[in-house]
């Protein structure tokens, strides 16, 4: 099936998310749609999938113009989509999820579970998925849930499969497996639209690459194009992909975590006996797939956790049991992973957000009073220093783009002297230009002598910044390794393999699809 998008334009109010986009997906090709967060990739795919109606332009399949009123029409036309946030009902079984909306019935309206199970088994065996049709979706790991989504699309005879940021939740090894699956699907004649902002993966798997920036197609490229070139197409200017970093010169220990365990509100142990040190002047990165206890570990350190045991000391002083404000006042800065929820108050102004932790003390407040003029003056300084693109410090934080919101959070946290800077996913959903800026600020904070604890699920970011790397898996620290540890070793450790075994296995297996690029880069 040949899929064409012709001149698709989609506006939201005065904002043009897609500006007359043309895209051709040939049969059996893996077509990568590359662009930053907010470039309009997801909007385009939602138009293609019938979730949004385009203002202009048309979708053409095998030379015929089609019109989709809803996802049902798109599915009927042979388009399948694996959403970034999986569209699976957690309390349903795999088989029930696969047949939802496309039910197998007997005797008119009654569900035919046997047929659905059979279908899941058939597709699962054909592509080597190993999926149990009777398992509840909430009980299976994320990687398997993704396969269920793929089965769901294939069961509906998808000829074009859209994968929206499919690797965000996967370990590097799972990503390799996904790439193998994509190749196999391609062999069987399925076209794939692969949406991502990860240059490395694009180069590993795509046949053709279309780059989108600010809602427009800015060009196409072939997979041989270098990462630097792709990045500059994506951002619109030359981007430095590596961070300039002096060798680190660690001082005394600032943060000492010993035997820390955290239980969640369901009573499960989510952080399990973690011990970790961070010295002044070094960046320790916590690597790991999302949901392996990183969030809870960090929240325990900054005083937001609840059911915690163990010890957390800041320059020798026990801080476990102190509340967040006391910990802030001891010189801990914190960038939470979900900025719109925990980092900012979106309905407050940029200026107010910039003094959120300092509003009650001089010079911004005294006694019961609060001094807006001083807040505003300070905000203007910080907005300049951190290059926050805003209409003014009186604009609401909610009106800023993701990258600029993040700059506000980072500016606030870095605007006072710190002993420890904790950053959780500091560049998630942030444009490449801002990533560069934020990375440089984090390194500057390190060089300034602060201890930096960075949590990131992006291995690229970990490798770019970390002096040492602690890998977490299922609430435990699998190992702490040097900042220049090879990617495939880290990948194995992220799946729970201890360091020594990981190094041995990595040496035996040789380079994978993704690491081969590192080799190329070195040569």
């Amino acid at each position: 099936m040949k899929l064409e998008l012709r001149g698709i334009t989609k506006r939201f109010g005065s904002f043009t998310a897609n500006d007359s986009i043309d895209l051709v997906v040939e049969p059996g090709e893996i077509h990568s749609l590359l662009g930053e967060n907010g470039a309009g990739k997801s909007t385009l795919m939602n138009v293609l999938y019938g979730l949004l109606q385009p203002d202009e332009g048309q979708v053409v399949i095998d030379g015929e113009r089609v019109h989709f009123d809803g996802p049902g029409d798109a599915v009927a036309a042979g388009i399948g989509m694996v959403h970034q946030h999986f569209m699976l009902v957690p309390v349903f079984t795999v088989a029930e999820n696969v047949m939802l909306g496309y039910e197998y019935t007997k005797g008119g309206q009654f569900l035919d579970h046997a047929a659905a199970r059979q279908q899941v088994r058939r597709l699962s065996e054909r592509f080597g998925f190993d999926v149990d049709p009777d398992a509840l979706v909430e009980d299976i790991p994320v990687g398997v849930q993704q396969r269920v989504e793929i089965i769901k699309a294939l069961a509906r005879d998808a000829k074009v499969l859209i994968l929206d940021e499919p690797t965000a939740v996967l370990t590097p090894q799972e990503t390799d497996e996904l790439i193998a699956i994509m190749r196999e699907l391609k062999q069987s004649g399925t076209s794939i639209v692969f949406i991502t902002h990860k240059l490395r993966e694009v180069r590993a798997v795509a046949d053709r690459i279309t780059v989108i920036r600010r809602g427009k197609v800015v060009g196409t490229a072939d997979p041989g194009t270098s990462e630097a070139e792709l990045a500059s197409m994506m951002v619109g200017r030359t981007v430095q992909l590596t961070v300039d970093k002096q060798p680190f010169a660690p001082k005394g220990e600032v943060l000492q975590v010993e035997d820390l365990s955290v239980r969640d509100d369901l009573g499960r142990t989510v952080v399990d006996g973690v011990s970790l040190d961070v010295r002044g002047g070094e960046i320790v990165a916590i690597a790991g797939v999302q949901g392996n206890g990183q969030t809870e570990l960090v929240e325990a350190i900054v005083g937001l956790g609840e059911d915690i045991s163990g010890s957390i000391r800041l320059q020798g002083k026990q801080i476990l049991g102190l509340n967040a404000k006391e910990i802030i006042d001891l010189g801990v800065g914190y960038v939470p992973e979900d900025r719109s929820h925990d980092g900012l108050i979106e309905s407050f102004t940029v200026a107010e957000n910039l003094v959120l932790s300092q509003h009650d003390r001089a010079p911004f407040g005294s006694g019961l009073l609060y001094h807006p003029a001083k807040v505003k003056a300070r905000a203007n300084e910080l907005v300049g220093e951190f290059d926050v693109r805003t209409q003014g410090v009186e604009a609401t934080a909610g009106s800023l783009s993701g990258g600029n919101q993040q700059k506000v959070v980072v500016a606030r946290e870095m605007s006072r002297p710190l002993k420890l800077f904790v950053a959780s996913q500091p560049t998630r959903g942030v444009d490449v230009g801002s990533i560069e800026f934020l990375h440089n600020r984090i390194v500057a904070e390190r060089d300034h002598g602060s201890a930096v604890l960075l949590v990131s699920t992006e291995l690229d970011e970990v490798l770019a910044l970390a002096d040492r790397i602690a890998v977490m898996y299922r609430g435990r620290v699998v190992g702490v390794v040097d900042g220049d540890t090879p990617r495939d070793v880290l990948g194995l450790m992220m799946a729970g393999v201890p360091e020594q075994d990981a190094r041995r296995q990595a040496a035996e297996q040789g380079p994978t699809a993704l690491t081969v690029q590192d080799e190329e880069a070195r040569q």
């Binding site: 999938y49 979730l51 949004l52 809803g70 996802p71 049902g72 029409d73 599915v75 009927a76 989509m81 959403h83 946030h85 999986f86 569209m87 699976l88 009902v89 957690p90 309390v91 349903f92 029930e96 999820n97 047949m99 939802l100 909306g101 496309y102 039910e103 019935t105 309206q109 009654f110 569900l111 509840l136 909430e138 009980d139 790991p141 994320v142 769901k152 939740v169 369901l266 009573g267 499960r268 989510v270 797939v289 999302q290 949901g291 392996n292 206890g293 969030t295 979900d338 719109s340 929820h341 979106e346 909610g398 299922r474």
Partner: protein
Amino acid sequence: MSTATRERLPESSTIQQGPLRKPPTWKSPIIMGVLGVVALLAFGLASNAGDTSTFGMSTGAQRLQIPALVLPTRPAAIVLSVLCLVLAAVAAAAVRVKRPVPLAVPIGFAALWLLAFLVWSMAGEQVPLPGLLGGTLLLSVPLVFGALSGVLCERSGVINIAIEGQLLAGAFASALMASVTDSLWIGLVMAPVAGLLVAVLLAMFTIKYVVDQIIVGVVLNVLVVGLTGFLYGRVLVQNADVFNQPGTFSRIPIPGLIEIPVLGPALFNQTIIVYLMYVAVIVTQVALFRTKWGLRVRAVGEHPKAADTVGIKVNRIRVQNVLLGGVVAGFGGAFFTLGSVGAFGREMTAGQGFIALAAMIFGRWSPVGALFAALLFGFANQLQGTLGALGSPIPSEFMLMAPYLATIFAVAGVVGRVRAPAADGQPYTKA
């Protein structure tokens, strides 16, 4: 930023170890154990050794007459209490292996415990068992209809607080229309129409205009109370023989089935409304869990966006289900007038719509579960009447509290894990 709220959950809960289900707590086995011991001590060991409790086993409508069952009070209460303790042990065993306690355990426990209480308090007396069970059934009929309405709405993701209003509207319309037309059948048809009208308002405000579901429900209840109260005072009372004398459906004994010992006369010598209830429970149960329609409804209630992406019209299903829920609750309303009292009275539903919501939760959002929960509430209610008549040692004021105490315990989670449909109460809007 409601979308952000919702998207945040799956992200932070993608922990890769085992089920996300909350492990069952020791709360319910412990409470059951304590209550079991209380029953053993108070009803069993403390009762007089020589007393007997007599249960009548047959009614005059049956050809086959079974002699009354004469139980020695003390041994019978002891046996029932021990059975309670056995169920508590079953619950404890389930918790120990981190399995959810089956719904039958707390419901069975409550029934046995109440029986032990009954046996103890009717020492030296006689109670007809078919009458007791039949009364239980009748008291639970409006609860069952109401709870079914709740299940239909909430499984699709809309909270229906307006059940009370729908019951009352059904009761009013059936009484009025049956009186005016002099036909019980027309009254029975008008009851669901009235429930439907309330549901139309609920669907319009909650789904189309995305008003808070709880607030709309409460307002509709107040509206129906006010409207029926006004019309009752101004019209029905003024001219009762024209507007408020519908009469009641007569009982239809089902040949054959009525001969079943004890249960026959309780279950199969009832009015058409009760038989309709049986059908409604079975149809809803099968439809929700065995059909294409049911799978879609449940998907809409759990994860509407997922349903949308496979081409299911989320809000259309929700509207359908809310309207269907109104129809079902309307039938329940007809029971108050055409099925039991034979006339409409001001606010005659007396909060049964809310107890029905409790039955729905107790029954874990399943029709059959709701039926048994409603029967349990009905039993507690019936017991109070029966014991009041016997002159029980317990003050009747306390007995009046029993069904409500049972409700509070049920809703407070003593019955174990209760999980509402994930998208219950959340309006669905695109983008």
